[in-house]
């Protein structure tokens, strides 16, 4: 058992090492076995672990990493339901995406490099979720950031992509600093990084204590960076520069949810910090609305999905902020399914159109790419939250949780759900319905993707469709398998939860569900009216209309704002520091000391005028002074 768990992250690492060292010599055929193969092995082992976990918690010793004195950070794994769930998502979805990539990347020179990076990513992601303490989590946390950097800038010839990669890494690092400081505070307060120790000690502390609030806030900064929440979300849309499978794997299904995972993992701490929970809720709501609003006006197929991801992550944080941990994890999982599906579908479209990403130049692909269309439809329905697809159940659980604690939040969440349905169907309609709007030569070459790409799509569509049945709420007569499974992990957190909880009558819940479904359907109809019926007669609007629309289309100028507030001043300060402080002040003082001595030298050497008489005169003065002071005093 232990050895199994130990091996799980090692497979992708091995894959990375082999592919990395032989990135030139290994033929593509072998790489296409090796890359997905290692992930497959991890997946198999994870499944095995799932069925063999007898007690809910297993601590696995790897080796002692940093230890001296009374500080001991060991490279340990914690295998519990939560980490198993994450491992399954990572390796499962990761496997499908790896397989998909064989087809997607087949024409790329950097084929081996790609798989090396993705394998490395899976390794770090597994470390992140398997770690038994914050330090190990941080290893994975930073490691996935690195892989994200490498993969966003995969086509490094293009400096635009490189900028995006750098931006992602740096914004993540801002969050990481928060995470790191949070870790330090944890260590100074609890003398340990171990989850178990920390949570056990934290439980004894009063709710709302300053330390825990500070810890959770700092950790939340880390989550904000990693999971692209306000104010550190702008890197995620840019991250779409990477190959589409990467967007699916890293920027939709797994890495960006690391923040959610971390908060869920630290549930005990968070429930003890109501202030943080409040801030988290507000941040999440703002992010949801903002991202959804921007998504409505985006024309890049991947950017729409990216903003949708941000919005969905907001959803998850919202759920966390009311203490609905299981719901969050549930949504995390279903989101991984349908968002990966959507991205891969989008990738299939892009692949077919040879790199075209502008939905205004698509349309009518329904017939040309049938498999892609149908799977994409499943994904869209799932994300819109229509029953009985997975998104419905997970969203419903979150909405129910939110409703029970705050109606206002609920209203906003429902609004965002409507917006989600609207922009997702806009995307679907513009891409697949109507007539093809691209230039003619492209339309001739459009072809359905090969099986290696469509089979993962079908599997994901299956998961997106039925994934929700894993956790049908009791309300609908389900057994809540997932809830049951995760309950030991969140038991303490749920017990300690301080968020005011309103007992909602069953009837009211049914009403709510119905209301949400109706509203979503209305949103879909609106999208249909606008993007199918209207487009039959008129052409697509290329210019955004009203002021708000233009604002949203331009992403509310947040990027420009950041550029003006942080980037440009930093460069200016850098230049100014070098010019005025470094060269003109500090160095000038240093040089000035030297110059002053030289000048002084140049002055006093004129005492040595060469005249004997003068020398005698000076000497006499000296003699007189000496005698004067010594005899009179």
């Amino acid at each position: 058992m232990t050895i199994l768990a130990k091996l799980i992250p090692l497979f992708p690492l091995l894959g990375f090492i082999i592919l990395g060292l032989g990135y030139r010599s290994i033929p593509k055929r072998i790489a296409s076995i090796l890359g997905p193969g290692t992930v497959f092995l991890s997946f198999i082992f994870s499944v095995f672990l799932l069925f063999n976990i007898h007690h809910s918690l297993m601590n696995i010793r790897y080796f002692s990493w940093i230890s001296f004195g009374n500080l001991s950070i060991s490279f340990d794994f914690l295998i519990d339901p939560l980490s198993i769930l994450m491992m399954l998502v990572i390796t499962g979805v990761g496997l499908l995406i790896h397989v998909y990539s064989i087809g997607y990347m087949s024409h790329d020179e950097g084929f081996n490099r790609f798989f090396a990076y993705t394998n490395l990513f899976v390794f770090f992601m597994l470390i992140l979720v398997m770690g038994s303490n914050y330090a190990v989590m941080f290893i994975g946390w930073e490691g996935v950031g690195l892989c994200s950097y490498l993969l966003i800038g995969f086509w490094f010839k293009n400096q635009q992509f490189n900028n995006a990669a750098k931006k992602a890494f740096i914004m993540n690092r801002i969050g990481d600093l928060g995470f790191l400081l949070g870790m330090f505070l944890i260590f100074t307060s609890f003398r340990s990084f171990n989850y178990v120790t920390v949570f056990d000690l934290a439980k004894t502390m009063p709710s709302g204590s300053g330390t825990i609030t500070a810890i959770t806030l700092l950790l939340f900064i880390g989550a904000v960076g990693k999971s692209a929440q306000i104010p550190l979300y702008t890197w995620l849309p840019d991250a779409m520069a990477g190959p589409t499978p990467v967007s699916a794997l890293i920027h939709a299904a797994t890495m960006v949810t690391a923040g959610v995972y971390m908060v869920a993992r630290s549930g005990v701490l968070y429930v003890l910090a109501p202030a943080t929970m409040e801030i988290m809720g507000l941040t999440a709501m703002a992010t949801m609305i903002l991202a959804a609003a921007i998504a409505i006006f985006q024309n890049d197929i991947k950017k729409v999905l990216a903003y949708s991801t941000i919005s969905q992550l907001g959803y998850m944080f919202l759920a966390l902020s009311v203490g609905a941990f299981t719901g969050t994890m549930f949504h995390l999982m279903t989101h991984a399914f349908f968002k990966a599906l959507l991205f891969l579908g989008a990738g299939s479209v892009i692949h077919a159109l040879e790199g075209e990403q502008d939905i205004r130049k698509m349309g009518g692909l329904k017939n040309v790419l049938p498999k892609t269309y149908w799977t994409f439809l499943v994904g869209t329905l799932a994300i819109a939250g229509l029953p009985p697809l997975s998104g419905f159940f997970s969203k419903d659980e979150i909405l129910a949780g939110v409703f029970s604690s705050s109606q206002t939040m609920w209203i906003i969440a429902v609004a965002v759900t409507m917006m989600t349905a609207f922009y997702m169907f806009r995307l679907l309609f513009l891409t697949f319905s109507g007539n093809y709007r691209g230039t003619h030569p492209q339309s001739l070459k459009i072809h359905e993707s090969p099986a290696v790409m469509t089979i993962p799509l079908l599997i994901l569509a299956f998961l997106a469709f039925f994934g929700g049945f894993l956790n049908i709420p009791e309300l609908m007569g389900g057994s809540g398998v997932l809830k049951e499974f995760l309950s030991p992990v969140f038991a303490d957190a749920v017990k300690l939860n301080q968020v005011p909880y309103l007992l909602v009558p069953e009837k009211r819940e049914w009403y709510n569900i119905a209301l949400v479904i109706i509203l979503v359907v209305l949103a879909i109809l609106a999208a249909y009216r606008k993007f199918v019926i209207k487009l039959r007669t008129g052409s697509i609007e290329t210019e955004a209309g009203s002021f708000i629309e233009r604002l949203a289309a331009n992403k509310f100028y947040i990027d420009e704002l950041y550029d003006a507030i942080f980037v440009k001043p930093a460069l200016k300060i850098s230049g100014a520091l070098h010019e005025f402080v470094e060269v003109r002040f500090i160095d000038r003082v240093v040089n000035g000391a030297g110059t002053m001595i030289v000048r002084f030298s140049n002055i006093i050497r004129y005492l040595q005028a060469g005249h004997v008489g003068m020398y005698m005169f000076f000497m006499i003065i000296g003699i007189l002074l000496i005698l004067f002071f010594n005899i009179l005093f």
């Binding site: 030297g594 001595i597 030289v598 002084f600 030298s601 140049n602 006093i604 050497r605 005492l607 040595q608 060469g610 004997v612 020398y615 005698m616 000076f618 000497m619 003065i621 000296g622 003699i623 000496i626 005698l627 002071f629 010594n630 005899i631």
Partner: protein, 459 residues
């Protein structure tokens, strides 16, 4: 005493050789002769007695220092062959006068009586007046000797006046008697006449050592004097004067502090500042070495100020380190002057390319003078600083290290020129024995740094 006699005899013999016109025999006589008198000096070790009613007191300090002086002279004579290579006229007079000057210098190491001090100083000075002007045709040499003579005789007047006043107040020239006088009068304060005499004596010696503000002669005279003799002045003359001062203080003020220390400390501080700061602007090596020697006078005064049992050791070590480094610098200076006709720093450019030993020697000398470990100069400075710090003269040490830091500015000039500046390539004309000699000097500088206990445990 033996050394004084043997050296005098040597001088006379040299003059006889001159009469006999045996020019080539001169150095073969002088060098062994110096070694013999060196041995005779060393034989006085642990003799510790006064001669001629304490006119001359032979003690280990005196023996050690006079050995250093004789040895330094020996080192300088080793350079003479090269230096006077192209001179046709007989050199017996110059050599003899150098030896007589050395006699004066040695006398200054042994004196037990102010009369002897005076005679030593004057023997040394009068010989030097001649030596400074020994290059008769050169107007610079003339100027040097005139300046040196006028200032020297002027200041020896003050010295004499000081001696007279000391005699007048204490009633004796004998150092021990003066000491007794000081001991008996220190409680109610020394009378002004004694104090005036004391400080005039200090001033007179300061002039010889080149301590500010009595240093003005040094740069001009050093520059004008023939280089070999400048080396003699910078090493032997300076050390002899320092020793004289030390001797005077160590006997007359044995165990008594506070009368003259502050004055000497201030003079030392001024000297260090002026020597180092002015040194920076000098365009040629010789004049730079003059300022360097001024600043080193200041450092040596540091040990004087911090008068303790360690002072003699510190001074001895410093004197050796300083004079070896200075002589090796002058040795290279002689070569460069010969090859280039001047000693501006520009003439040193690219010297290291073809003259590795010469360049290395000069570099080591400069580094030693700067006080970079593990060279002798550093250990010398260490002894001085530690003596001064022990006695609580921290402010003076801070001035001294500031001076050391500044001195990098000029000591590195020849190093930079020799090693780092590109210019036409020069080959210095140095014979193998000359090369061996400078290498020996370099090794001495390095060895003394590594094995300071060779000297430090002596006195």
């Amino acid at each position: 005493m033996n050394s004084i006699i043997s050296l005098s005899v040597l001088g006379v013999l040299v003059l006889f050789l001159g009469i006999l016109k045996k020019k080539t025999w001169l150095l073969p006589l002088i060098l062994p002769g110096l070694l013999i008198s060196l041995v005779m000096t060393v034989l006085h070790w642990n003799m510790n007695r006064g001669l001629f009613h304490n006119m001359i007191i032979i003690d280990n300090t005196g023996v050690a220092f006079s050995a250093v002086l004789i040895f330094s002279t020996f080192l300088i004579f080793m350079l003479a062959a090269q230096y006077y290579r192209k001179v046709i006229r007989p050199l017996d007079d110059i050599y003899a006068i150098m030896i007589f000057a050395l006699v004066g210098a040695v006398l200054m190491c042994y004196f037990g009586n102010l009369i002897m001090l005076f005679i030593g100083i004057e023997t040394l000075s009068i010989a030097l007046y001649v030596l400074a002007g020994s290059h008769k045709e050169a107007i610079t040499s003339n100027e040097a000797t005139l300046k040196y003579f006028l200032l020297g005789s002027f200041l020896s007047g003050f010295l004499l006046f000081g001696i007279a006043l000391l005699y007048g107040s204490s009633g004796s020239f004998d150092l021990y008697t003066i000491h007794a006088y000081v001991v008996s009068h220190i409680q109610q304060g020394l009378p002004p006449m004694f104090k005036a005499g004391l400080f005039l004596l200090i001033i007179g010696l300061s002039f010889k050592i080149a301590i500010a503000p009595f240093h003005f002669w040094a740069p001009d005279v050093y520059e004008g004097t023939p280089t070999l003799l400048t080396a003699f002045m910078a090493s032997v003359v300076k050390i002899a004067s320092v020793v004289a001062m030390y001797r005077f203080f160590s006997i007359t003020f044995f165990g008594i502090h506070g009368v003259w220390e502050m004055t000497v400390a201030i003079l030392a501080g001024i000297t260090i500042i002026i020597g180092n700061v002015t040194g920076i602007y000098q365009p040629n090596l010789k004049r730079m070495l003059a300022y360097s020697s001024i600043s080193h006078s200041g450092y040596m005064m540091l040990a004087m100020v911090a008068f303790s049992g360690y002072t003699a050791t510190a001074l001895l070590f410093y004197a050796v380190a300083y004079s070896v480094a200075t002589i090796s610098a002058f040795a290279i200076l002689i070569l460069v002057r010969e090859a280039k006709g001047n000693d501006y720093f520009g003439s040193f450019n690219n010297l290291a390319k073809h003259n590795r030993i010469e360049a290395f020697t000069l570099a080591v000398a400069m580094l030693s003078l700067t006080g970079i470990p593990p060279l002798a100069g550093f250990m010398g400075k260490y002894f001085l600083f530690s003596a001064a710090i022990e006695q609580g003269w921290l402010w003076l040490v801070i001035i001294a290290i500031a001076g050391s830091a500044v001195s990098v500015g000029y000591y590195f000039k020849p190093i930079i020129a020799m090693y780092f500046r590109e210019d036409q390539e020069t080959v210095l004309q140095a014979g193998p024995s000359y090369k061996a000699h400078i290498l020996f000097l370099t090794l001495l500088t390095i060895l003394l740094g590594f094995l300071p206990f060779l000297l430090s445990g002596l006195i």
